[in-house]
Symmetry: D2
Subunit: 342 residues, 4 copies
C-alpha cells in the first residue's frame, strides 16, 4: 500500500506548520491539516519524538510525514501555524513565528487570558506579554469577526469551549446570577504525557473529580462571561471518565430573574440558529453523538423550582482542541469556516 | 468441581428469603446472604426466571440454588426477607410477608417516602399505606437505633445513600442553604431489564444526563435532610457512565453562613469517626476505591468563594443496594453490623 | 444549526437506495453514501424504524433523512442499492431490485456462497437460486475485475474479509496445509437487535468464544481459499471482546512445505504493494489502528518451528461491512475505488 | 472510620511476609494474606514505594499497613513469604529467605523452569541454580502432594496456569499431537510499571497480539506437558484486551488419534470432579464468570473434523497469580487449600 499524496484540491491557500504534533491534540491537528483540501501541511514538529514517523505514533491518522525538530529557518516559506505546545513553552515560539509573519493559532493558555496578572496567578510568568493585546480568543461563536482579522488566535480550552457555548445565550441577556459547572471528560483530556493515574488499570471502571481546589479553565470561562456583559462567579469542577474522547458539561445556573422554559429554549434556538457547529437538541446529549466531530450539542431545561440546567457535549480533541483550531485557521484565511472539519 | 455447601458458621441466626433475585441487586443480595456466616438462604425467587439456576445467570456469585416462584406457603418457616421487587409490585408482597411475621428489608421505593401523597406523585397509588408508619428508612448512619428495633426497613435508593452521606454532617448543623447534586452512575444502576440505551454499543464511549425533569430520588433526599432539621430544595441530576458498578455524587452546597474549610473537615471527621463504613478521605474518591465494598468515601472542601464541595463514592450495587440491605438485616437481627459484608 | 445539504461534487453518478438502514452496518452505509461526492442517497429504508429520523438513531452520522418503508415503486428512478437485510429476507428484495435494473451490493449471506447446498446447510432454503450464478463475491482484493462488470455483488462477511486478506497470499501459492483462525470482534458485530448477552453490564470486563460448534463464515472462507487453488479445512472460532468496533483475526497456518520468514514477508509485500486498502505492517496490528477506516493491516511472521502466524485487523463495520460495500459500488460504477471512503 | 484489625480467627498458623507488594499481584497477595483467617501479615515490602501506605496505592484492598524496605533482619520471626519480585531480582531474595528457614512461594519465573539452560535462554543467567532442584512447580492440580511437602514453590505464570488446566487431561492420556494456544489477557497482566502502550488512551477500544516471536511462558507450558508424558510443541501467542483483570486461553489441539466428544468431555469431568477450583462448564466461559475468584472454568468440544477445542478462563491476578500463591501456601502449611480465597 503506497503512501497517499496529500489530498489537495488545486493549489493550497496556505502552507501550514503544526508545532507540537506528537501529543494527542497536535497529532489530530496535523491530520486535519493534512486532509484539508486547501491547506498544505509543510511540517509537523515535536520536541520529544523528532525523527519518528507520525504514522508510527498514530497509525489511524494516516499522515505519512516524519516528525522533525522545529527549525525556524525551515518554516520561512510557511503562511500559518498551529502551535500545540505546553503553556509557557508556547509563548516564545509564537513570538518567533509572528516575527516571521505567520498567522498563528495557539493551543496552550498563553494568550487566552487577556489580563496578565490573572494569567500569572494561574500559570507562570508570561514570556511575551506584548503579544497579549493582539491576541483574539478563538471561540468563533463569540468572536467570529475578530478572528477573521486576527493574526494570533488563542484557541480556547476544551472546558471553556463547552461551558461557554452552554452559558453564552443566558450571559448575553445578563441572566446568570450563580453558576455551577460540573464537567466530565475522557482520558485523552489528560494529554499524552500522563502518568500512573491515566494507566488503563487505573482508569478502567473508575471516575473521580480532580482539581477541586480550582482549575485553570475557570478564569477563562469567567473572562468571557464578563465580556458578554454578565460578570459572575463560576464554580467549576472537572471529572475524569473511563472513555477516550468526549466532554460533557452540566451547568446549573440560578437566573437573575424568573425565566420560563419556553422562552429560554427560544433564546437558545435563536442564538444558535445560524451557527454551523452548534445544535440545540431535544434531549440531554451523549458523548457518542459528537465523537470525532466539530459539533457542540446543547440541551437546556428549567427546573420547576427555577434553576436553569444546561448540558453541552463536545469531543474534547475536536471542537475542544484540534478541529476548532482549524475552524479558526479557516476564518483567518478567508476560507469556508467548516472546510476540512465537517 | 462440587457445589460448595453454604459456608455457615454454626447454627444460623435467621433463615432468609430473597425475593426478586434475578435482577442485579437481588442476585447480589442472594450471594451476600449465601456467604453470610449467620444467615441461611432458604429461597431465592424470581418472577421472570423461576426454574433457572442462579449460577447460570450470575456464574461468579457461585450460589448453587435454583430460582423459584415466590410461594408464601413455602416461606412460613423463614425469619426474614430481602425484597427486591419493582415499586408498586413490592408493597403487597411485603404486606404478606409481614403477615407471616417475617422481618423485611425492602429494596423498592414503596416504603421510603413517609408521606403518601409525595410517594403517589412520583410513583403510583400506594397499595399498602397502613404499613408506611411502621417502616424505618434504612440508612444506618442516620437511623441505626430505629433500624435495630424495626420489622420493616426501607432500604434507601443508591443516589440518596451517597447524597445523604455527603450532606448529612452539614444538614445536621442546618448549614445547607442551596444544594446541587450532580450524580454519576454505572450502567448496572439502570437494572437488568434495560433496553437499547444500555446495550454495550450504546453506552461504550458515552455519558449523558437523564431524568433532567426530576428524578424520584430527589424527594427521598429532601425528606431526610428535612428530618435532620435542614429543609432545603435540592437540584438533583443523574448521569450514566460507561462502567459497570459505581456511583459518584458531586455536591455543590451554598452554606447558610460562611464556613471555614478546617472546621468543615473537622465536622465531617467527627461525624464519621465511629462509622464502620464511611471514610473521610484526603482526595476526591474514585469509583475503583469502593468497588465491591459496602464503603462510602467522602471528600469535602470549601471553595475560596465559599461554596462547600462534597464528593461521595459508593458501589451502587453494594452500599447503594444489596450490602446495605444486609447491613440493615444484621442490625434488625442483633448481629454485628458488618457481618458478611466486610 | 441547519441541516446540511448532501455534499455532492457536481452531478451525481448514481442515485442510491440503502435498504435496511436502521442496523449498525446499514446506517453506516447510508452515511457513507450521503457524504460520498458522486453518489446521491435517494432513500434509506427500514422495516422496524420507518418514520424515524436517521439522526435520532445515529446522531453522529448527521444524515438528515427519515427512514421509510421500502417501496419498490418509489425507487424506480434509482441506479443502485446497498441491501443490508438479514439473510433469507434479503434475496427476494434483491431479486425485485435487479428486476428494476438496479445494481445491487448485498450485505447478507444470501449470495456469498456459490454452492446452493452449502448455503442451505448453514442458512435456510434459498429464495432466489437463479441469481446465484450472476453474483460476484465482493472482496475487491480477490475479484476486482469481476466486480467492475457485476450487477450483483455479495459483500463478504466481516470475518471472511479479514481472514481472506490474511491468508490469500499463502493460498495463492498453495502453501496452506492446515489453518486455525482465532477471530476476535467488538460488540457491534453482534448487530443492533442483540439481547441480554450484549448489554453493557454483560459485556463489560468480559470476553468469550461463541459458535464453537461451527460458524457460518467458515464455509465462506473455505470457498474462497479453494477458489485460490488451495482447498483446506479451516478451524474457525470467533470471540466477542469488550469494545465497539474492530476485528482481529489471528491465523495459525501450517505450511505445505518449509517456508522462510523473509520469503513469506516478501510474498505479502508484493501481493499487497498496489492494494489501496491493505497494508503489510511491521508489528502486530491493533484495532485502534484501523478504526473508522476501510483499511486492513496485516502482519506476518514465521515461528521458529515453522508455523506461519498472520494477524489481520479491520474495522468490522467499515472494511468488514459498510465501507467495503461502497468500495464495491465504486468499482461497479466505474468510480475511483476509494472515493468517499478514504 | 477506624482501621480494622486483621481479621484473624484465633492464633495465626503462620506469620507471612509479602515482598514486592506494590505491584498488582503483590498487593493482592498482601490483601489475601491480610484477610486470611490463619495467616498473619507481618510485613509488606516494596523497593519503589517503601514508606507509602498500601491503602493509598490500592484503596479498595483496605490493608492498613505501610510498605517498607525489605529488611532480612526484621523478618527473622516470620514463617513464610510470598515473593513478587521481577525475575533475576527474585532469586537472591529467595535464597536469603530460605537461609532464614522461611517457606517461600515465589512469583517470578526464577524457579519455574527446572532446566537451567532453558531458563537462561529465555531470561537471564540464574543467580541461585542450587535452589532449582528443590523447587516445586506450584500448580496444585498437577503437583498437590509435592507442594504439601515443599519449602520453595514456584508459582506458575498466569498463561501456563490456564493453558495447563486446559490441556492436562488430554496430555495425561498422551493425546496431544499439535497445539495452538491463542491467549487473551486484560491489561493488569502487563504489570504496574507499564508504559505508554498500557495508557488508557492506548488500550481503549484496542486489542492486539504481542510477543509473536516467542513468549517466555511457552517453555513453561511445554515443560509441564512433557512432565505429564506428552512432549509436544506448542504455538503460543498472547494478546492484550481492553479490560482490567481476566485471561482466556483458546486451545486448538490436534489429537494423536480420533477422539469422540462424549469421551473427551467425560475425561475432563472425571479429571476435575474433585478439584475445588476447576469447573468444567457447558458453554465457552466468559471472563466475568471468574473475575475476583481462584476458579478456572474449562469448556471442551470436538470439531466435526476432529480438532479438540478447549477454552479456559481465569482471573490473571487471582488464580493466575495471587490467590494461587495463597493456595500453595495453604498446602505448604497444612491448611485447608481454599482457606481465605473462596
Amino acid at each position: 500500500m503506497n503512501d497517499p499524496p496529500q489530498p489537495l484540491d488545486g493549489d493550497p491557500v496556505a502552507r501550514v506548520v503544526v508545532a507540537g504534533a506528537s501529543g494527542y491534540a497536535g497529532a489530530l491537528s496535523a491530520q486535519l491539516v493534512w486532509r484539508h483540501p486547501k491547506l498544505e501541511l509543510v511540517q509537523a514538529t515535536s520536541r520529544s519524538d523528532a525523527g519518528t514517523p507520525l504514522e508510527r505514533l498514530y497509525p489511524r491518522y494516516r499522515v505519512p510525514m516524519t516528525l522533525t525538530e522545529l527549525d525556524l529557518d525551515e518554516i520561512e516559506g510557511a503562511d500559518a501555524a498551529i502551535v500545540a505546545y505546553p503553556h509557557a513553552a508556547s509563548a516564545p515560539v509564537v513570538a518567533a513565528m509572528r516575527g516571521l509573519g505567520l498567522g498563528v493559532v495557539e493551543r496552550s493558555a498563553d494568550f487566552r487570558l487577556g489580563d496578565r496578572p490573572t494569567y500569572e496567578r494561574w500559570y507562570a510568568p508570561h514570556g511575551e506579554p506584548d503579544l497579549l493585546d493582539g491576541a483574539v480568543y478563538g471561540l468563533p461563536e463569540l468572536h467570529r469577526e475578530k478572528i477573521r482579522g486576527a493574526e494570533l488566535v488563542a484557541n480556547p480550552g476544551c472546558y471553556p469551549t463547552a461551558s461557554l457555548l452552554a452559558l453564552a445565550p443566558l450571559a448575553a441577556e445578563g441572566l446568570l446570577a450563580d453558576v455551577v459547572v460540573d464537567a466530565k471528560q475522557g482520558v485523552s483530556g489528560a494529554g499524552r504525557g500522563a502518568g500512573e493515574e491515566t494507566q488503563y488499570v487505573s482508569m478502567d471502571e473508575n471516575a473521580f473529580a480532580y482539581k477541586t481546589g480550582g482549575h485553570r479553565h475557570r478564569p477563562e470561562i469567567e473572562q468571557e462571561l464578563d465580556g458578554l456583559g454578565n460578570p459572575v462567579e463560576v464554580t467549576f469542577v472537572p471529572h475524569l471518565l473511563p472513555l477516550d474522547q468526549g466532554e460533557l458539561v452540566s451547568c446549573y445556573a440560578r437566573p437573575t430573574e424568573a425565566v420560563d422554559e419556553g422562552a429560554v429554549l427560544a433564546l437558545y434556538r435563536e442564538r444558535y440558529a445560524t451557527e454551523p457547529f452548534v445544535r440545540v437538541v431535544e434531549r440531554p446529549p451523549g458523548l457518542r453523538d459528537v465523537r470525532d466531530t466539530n459539533e457542540c450539542h446543547v440541551f437546556v431545561t428549567v427546573e420547576e423550582r427555577g434553576r436553569v440546567l444546561i448540558f453541552a457535549a463536545i469531543d474534547n480533541l475536536w471542537k475542544g482542541a484540534s478541529s476548532q483550531a482549524v475552524q479558526n485557521l479557516n476564518l483567518m484565511l478567508g476560507l469556508d469556516e467548516g472546510m476540512g472539519i465537517s
